[in-house]
Amino acid sequence: MKPKIAAQSGTFESSDVIFLIEPLPDNSGRKLDISSTVMQQYGSSFNRIVTEMLDEYQMTDIHLIAKDKGALEPTIKARLETAINRSMERQEGTL
């Protein structure tokens, strides 16, 4: 699936993460820009969670920017799910 519109979710607050999703031209694949205040400790785990969820939703032609402030796994998953749904125009609260 390809995002229909640009969308975001989350906040810059501590223990949260903000995701911004933008659609890319066809056949562009995925472009991930991930930064985290705990990148050294949990960066690989964060990347794994994001990649697994994008796989699960079969997302492609997507530019995903993440700015993490130490979010736990349920928060990362909730924020990414919300951003994906918003980018697919499936939920209210889009940009």
Binding site: S15, P74, T75, K77, A78, R79, E81, G93
Partner: protein
């Protein structure tokens, strides 16, 4: 009962450490209209993994008349928190309709109808008028609460620290709960810096019959516990009354005196309630 905004991960993950008897994850007034979807998804994920220790976990959903109410129920009911708190409840018919929807969702997920309960919030003049039917007609309604801010708004009056505008509503709601043998929780005290005011209002709430009080800040929990927890003297006295009552009952004596004061069934009942609150059993 500690209110926690449903879209704040830091507060949710720390919610269990403050010692509140009950955690209320709020999808309603504490969440901005354009973040309802985000809060719903976050609360769903957090309930599954966060340890709230001994606290009862409730979720306040949005009213069914909003675009968010049904989606909240579809997401939260399958998780079976201790209770769903329903805002601005105005009639028994409304509760019946809500329970029908909840039970339909439970059926779809193979869940029982007797685990999760319902807390009805009374926040409008119409709700106050109909509160006895709301409190008494449904097995799953095990608590009612008063929402002071919304109620004053509905009454077109200003919420004042002395609570005079909602005093009738408070007492009517308490009486409906007592007649229905369910819990009744007082509204929040909005000024987190006024500890004396919080204590005064909590003491009043206890005096007129409320069984608990909602808080919006963990700093308020200790004062609420302090007011609602029986003192050592009260517990000792209650223990003495219940013990004497049992001895006298065994001897065939119905009414007796302790320290020159008559002890009869209502006094014993009150003493038993204090011991129950204090978790004390008479050996």
């Amino acid at each position: 009962m500690l209110y926690i905004p449903g879209n704040n991960p830091a507060m949710i993950q720390q919610g269990g450490v403050y010692g509140a008897d009950s955690i209320l994850l709020d999808l309603e007034d504490a969440v901005a209209l354009n973040q309802k979807d985000a809060a719903r998804t976050l609360v769903r994920n957090m309930i599954k993994v966060v340890d709230f220790y001994d606290a009862e976990v409730c979720v306040r959903v949005n009213h069914l008349s909003t675009p968010f109410g049904l989606a909240d129920l579809e997401t939260i009911v399958p998780l079976q928190p201790s209770a769903i708190r329903y805002p601005k409840t105005e009639s028994a018919e409304e509760v019946a309709e809500l329970l029908k929807i909840i039970e339909r969702i439970e059926d779809r997920h193979g869940l029982p109808h007797n685990k999760m309960t319902l807390h009805a919030m009374i926040e409008t003049a119409m709700g106050v008028q109909n509160v006895f039917n709301i409190a008494s007609m449904f097995r799953r309604v095990d608590a009612i609460t008063i929402g002071g801010q919304d109620l004053t708004a509905d009454m077109n009056i200003v919420y004042t620290a002395d609570g005079v505008g909602i005093d009738f509503a408070r007492k009517r709601i308490v009486m409906a709960a007592k007649a229905s043998h369910i819990d009744v929780i007082d509204t929040v005290f909005p000024d987190v810096n006024d500890e004396e005011g919080l204590r005064r209002e909590t003491e009043y709430a206890k005096k007129i019959g409320f069984t608990g009080k909602a808080v919006i800040n963990p700093r308020q929990i200790d004062i609420i516990h302090d007011v609602f927890t029986p003192t050592e003297e009260e517990i000792r006295k209650a223990y003495h009354i219940v013990k004497e009552f049992r001895m006298n009952t065994a001897a065939g004596i119905g009414v007796f005196a302790i320290d020159g004061k008559m002890v009869d069934a209502p006094v014993v009942s009150r003493a038993e309630y204090i011991l129950k609150l204090a978790n004390v059993t008479v050996g």
